[in-house]
Amino acid sequence: MEERRYRSASGAPIALRRRQHSASCRELAVRCPRLQLRSLSAVTSAVWLVAYGLFVLSENSMVLSAAIFITLIGLIIYLHFVKIDQESLLVIGSLGIQVTSSYASGKESTTFIEMGQVKDVVINEAVHMQKVIYYLCILLQDPGDPQGVSEVVPLFQSSKPRLDCLIEVYRSCQEILQQRKTAPQ
């Protein structure tokens, strides 16, 4: 198991952890930048300042309790539905590829794609506003057309690693995917 530091597309520090469980099974996990205390306190103070301003204008103390309530509920929703802590890729040769996102509140959302549906894993370029960003994606096989691609599943959408990190992940995946081409199955 090894862990290396890289940078995301926006410059935040991320870490890539690679584990080899067996000859045909590898796990690659990218840890996203953590929730910063600075931004959390900035948002909370802004909301409470606005609420205090409204309270001074309207003389209604319900505004203050409502502000506290909104901050709490907003934080819970953010941690449970928005903030992703870690995105991992588990490649099991001859079974499939599993993509997991774990949220800051501990929730994990998993998708498993069978090996029969996977055509290839590639690095694509995308033009986003004024930047060109690279992203890793899984190409799914079209059942009717052997040359066609039915769907493109982008990976690591929240951590957005840069090209150097993506190349490492790409190489690891391709080593396992090559095995299925050499095997008679």
Binding site: H21, F112, G116
Partner: protein
């Protein structure tokens, strides 16, 4: 090539024996269903397996051997197990052995007729047998709708789920049965059964028959000729309460039918309808008890007439305002007075009718309120119908205003064409040029100017009454939306997803367990449940109303031209 062995986690503590299950050669995987213990007679085992295969249509065979030894590996036992491979010939013969309490098992295969002597890698996947048996795998949405779906393209996982689900009969024998074969599987410690479930099953047959008989009586009455006479049938089609009652009757017929549900979808639909009806009736009875306590329904009836009066008075004030100089606009005096007086007279008639009915209102409302026990949806539909009846005069005004405006617009457009020297060709459905006589042109121009200068007055009346009508339609629409929500929500599926989430599977997820070098890769296969959004989408009950098919542009066009709009059309009604 990689060999995948799906091992049930309940068999980890089983005594030594042989493994039976299904070998899926296309995927190079073995699904192990149970362990047969020593002593056994091979002929009897083969007989038993062929019987099970005949009943379940799943290709079960002996796949290998399982040895669970408390001490060190015994050489003699391992040779004995290898010899078994010659009796039950299976290619490849899988040998799994566990020493003591170690988590790491050794797994090897014996290939007699193989050309490549290379050791193949083995992956050991543990699965929870009971959960996989009860679970229903839902294919992803795009493959579920595609029709050119070949059998051999079926998902590999669905083959595994099918194998375990179809082998239910194998799990019916437990270790207390006296038979020649001793098995270990998830139910081998005693077959699970619930007294309540058995009692309900026994009681449901006569209950269903009674319900079917009652329903046939009710539907016979509904279909009788007495109710088909013209005024009554028109009334029934306009009242939404009758639609809702008919819909619920249909639901009851589905539940009370004697045929057992064949597929998972049918079973879920029956269960959803049953739970939805139950909750509906429970909420209705709750509402009824709240209404009849402290005579609230009497208070409601008392306030109904003053509210209707108040609405009529507001309308009269509105008309007086229109007859003056509304919003500073200057109306045509004569037409204004005519239209205003016409509508005022209507309101006067309406108020008189309401006052005529007022002594009977409380009694009618009291009896109508009793029908809330049929369900909350019926109560909401009755509310919607009462609103429709109370605002009937607004509907009438809207129709008058719309017809007048529509006539005016058509007249204007036709005379405008005359102005330009063109004419509408009905045969060819297009505009053609035409030469008019002088007197035709003169009359046409006169009429055009008259209609044009009277347009603002008519347009204003039309606008005001259309807005009022749209308001009423909005309120009725919201009530119908709520009724549809209660009708179509699959409550049983949502509760199942909440409490027994493994029953509705969107897929699987694998967890890598502790590894040891030299031993096969150990994975745990768990069920990935469906998301709530997909549960509601897959198991929604169909409703009888279709939502506005008119897009916003066509609606605006209809409003501009003065055509009557019917935003809430029901399925089965003639489209105009």
């Amino acid at each position: 090539m990689v060999l995948k062995v799906f091992f049930p986690s309940c068999c980890s503590l089983a005594e030594s024996g042989i493994l039976i299950g299904r070998w899926i050669s296309e995927q190079n995987s073995a699904v192990i269903l149970a362990v047969v213990h020593f002593p056994f007679i091979p002929v009897q085992v083969k007989q038993y397996l062929s019987e099970v295969q005949r009943v379940t249509k799943v290709g079960i065979s002996v796949l290998g051997s399982w040895s669970n030894s408390k001490q060190e590996k015994e050489e003699s036992l391992s040779e004995f197990l290898e010899d078994l491979g010659t009796i039950f010939s299976h290619e490849p013969w899988i040998q799994i052995s566990k020493e003591g309490d170690s988590k790491f098992w050794s797994c090897s295969t014996l290939q007699k007729h193989s050309n490549n002597p290379k050791e193949e890698e083995i992956i050991l996947v543990y699965y929870d047998q009971r959960k996989v048996m009860l679970s229903h795998l839902h294919p992803p949405l795009d493959t579920a709708t595609s029709t050119d779906h070949r059998a051999d393209d079926a998902s590999k996982l669905s083959a595994i789920f099918d194998t375990v689900a179809k082998s239910k009969i194998l799990f019916m024998t437990d270790r207390y049965d006296d038979g020649p074969i001793k098995l270990t599987h998830w139910q081998s410690d005693g077959v699970e059964a619930s007294i309540i479930v058995e009692l309900v099953k026994q009681a449901s047959v006569p209950a269903c028959m009674l319900l079917t008989f009652l329903l046939s009586l009710v539907s016979g009455i509904c279909r009788s000729r007495v109710l088909k006479f013209w005024p009554l049938s028109f009334l029934w089609s306009k009242l939404s309460t009758c639609e809702q009652l008919g819909h619920r009757l249909q639901h009851l017929q589905v539940i009370s039918s004697n045929k057992k549900a064949q597929t998972q979808t049918q079973l879920m639909r029956k269960a959803n309808i049953f739970v939805s009806l139950l909750i509906d009736v429970a909420l209705g009875i709750l509402l009824m008890s709240w209404l009849y306590r402290k005579n609230r329904i009497g208070h409601l009836a008392d306030t109904l007439i003053p509210v209707a009066d108040h609405v009529a008075e507001e309308l009269q004030d509105l008309l007086q305002w229109l007859m003056g100089a509304p919003a500073g606009l200057k109306m045509n005096r004569a037409l204004d007075q005519v239209l205003g007086r016409f509508f005022l007279y209507h309101i006067h008639l309406w108020i008189s009718y309401i006052h005529l009915m007022s002594p009977f209102i409380e009694m009618i409302l009291w009896y109508v309120g009793l029908s809330a026990c049929l369900g909350l949806t019926v109560a909401l539909c009755i509310l919607s119908d009462i609103i429709a009846l109370l605002t009937f005069h607004i509907y009438c005004f809207y129709v008058y205003g719309a017809r007048l405006y529509c006539l005016k617009i058509y007249g204007l457009s036709s005379l405008w064409r005359l102005f330009r020297g063109k004419k509408w060709n009905v045969l060819r459905q297009r505009v053609d040029s035409c030469s008019y006589d002088l007197d035709q042109l003169f009359i046409g121009t006169l009429l055009f100017t008259i209609l044009l200068f009277l347009l603002p007055t008519t347009a204003l009346y039309y606008l005001v009454f259309t807005l009022l009508r749209l308001l009423v339609v909005l309120v009725q629409g919201l009530i119908h939306l709520l009724v549809d929500l209660i009708d179509s929500l699959p409550l049983y599926s949502i509760i199942l997803r909440l409490c027994r989430s493994y029953r509705l599977a969107a897929g699987v997820k694998f967890r890598v367990l502790e590894q040891q070098d030299g031993k096969p890769l150990r994975l745990l296969m768990q069920i990935n449940p469906l998301s709530y959004g997909r549960v509601v989408q897959t198991y929604r009950l169909p409703t009888y109303s279709c939502y506005p098919k008119d897009s916003w542009t066509s609606l605006c066009k209809k409003l501009f031209l003065g055509e009557l709009i019917y935003p809430w059309k029901h399925k089965g009604e003639k489209q105009d």
